[in-house]
Subunit: 228 residues, 2 copies
């Protein structure tokens, strides 16, 4: 599950540079040369994060950010602003319209990737590759392995993604619909009740290391991973 990074930048060389960088960092770059172009891409599939140039022909970056923030569908997508100069005023305005971070050109690839990672970790931790440990339960996104109290646990892909998501967002209730969106994907059409079945499968597997209590039912609301 590579994160989709939408880059909105009108200068083609910079755009390509960014895209190269991003794909090397393990993300999936999407290119847009204007706000209008970006909107089209967003209509097809919501990106996980947006890199947005401050200066754009047509709709400016800051107006576009505002627009994104005013739409329910896009308001939670993290935005990193790209600005030419390190102007404090720009920074303030950027944060005002809801940018999550911002970076001034020229920037080092390392810094850019670090910031993307930081923002993702905050907003969509399930898209990072961090090793997750909770109460003796370990999930390694890189090797794609799970173990409970050092005992390897075998599970299907869906259960893995479900557990990955829960471990990335512990102590938080998710409705079945939210889980379908986050774990299955928003373009998928399956029954709410199917979530129950996968929860049960996951719990069954976690039983091997007495971790099944981690996945809790919150009646009327959904499910939660919690150590309490």
């Amino acid at each position: 599950m590579k994160a989709n990074v939408l880059i909105v930048e009108d200068e083609s060389p910079i755009l390509e540079l960014l895209a190269l960088n991003i794909s090397q960092a393990g993300y999936n770059p999407l290119r847009a040369i204007s706000a209008e172009h970006a909107e089209k891409l967003i209509n097809e599939a919501l990106p996980d994060i947006i890199l947005l140039d401050w200066m754009l022909p047509g709709m400016s970056g800051i107006d576009f950010a505002k627009k994104l923030r005013s739409n329910t569908l896009t308001k939670t997508i993290p935005i990193i602003m790209l600005t030419a100069r390190s102007d404090e005023l720009d920074k303030v305005r950027g944060l005002e319209v809801g940018a999550d971070d911002y970076i001034t050109k020229p920037f080092s690839p390392r810094e850019l990737n670090a910031r993307i990672k930081a923002v993702l970790r905050r907003k969509a931790p399930e898209l990072t590759e961090d090793l997750l440990k909770i109460n003796g339960l370990e999930l390694d996104p890189v090797s794609h392995r799970v173990s409970g109290n050092n005992k390897p646990l075998e599970m299907g892909p869906t259960e893995f993604r479900l557990l990955h998501f829960f471990m990335s967002n512990p102590e938080r209730v998710y409705s079945r619909s939210q889980l379908l969106d986050k774990v299955w994907g928003s373009q998928i059409f399956i029954e709410d009740r199917t979530v129950d079945v996968h929860i049960r499968r996951l719990r069954n597997i976690l039983t091997q290391s007495q971790h099944e209590g981690l996945i809790q039912t919150v009646r009327g609301s959904g499910y939660r991973l919690s150590t309490k």
Copy 2:
């Protein structure tokens, strides 16, 4: 809290078929036989989602979609286009004018309902996520947990919502019908006296941490959450 689904379809048998389906799926169907007719209905009450036939007499579906998108009031209403053929070009044009999804005839009831659900679940409004604390009583909307003096308190969904509402609006009296509106929902037909029962249930639970006095009866008026 049934979602209102506006169906715009000129062929009466198909319209009825759709309406039947939609009401069986737990939504409330509104019927329109033309774009003009649909506009009238929209003026009366904004639907939650619109199923829009591609081919319509008078204003075409695509023009109507464009019109809806250009109006502030209606631009955020999700639209699902109904098209006769699976023409890629149509799909592109549909997405261009801002349809959220589209489905080709003939379609299975299941697929249709799944798509409606998928589109609706994405536009769910977000509730406030702030941790509420009053006098040692804590309610966390995120993890969906309540504790009194650090002791976990278990309660049913209705009691949770009731307490959530009171803690969000402390020191203020609400009549039984106001509570029914705010906590149960406005279209629900329930006896006033039932509120009493849930108040008692809530108080019983709060007794575990000596917080039952927080919920006060205001004779002749209703109930209030107050620390005084």
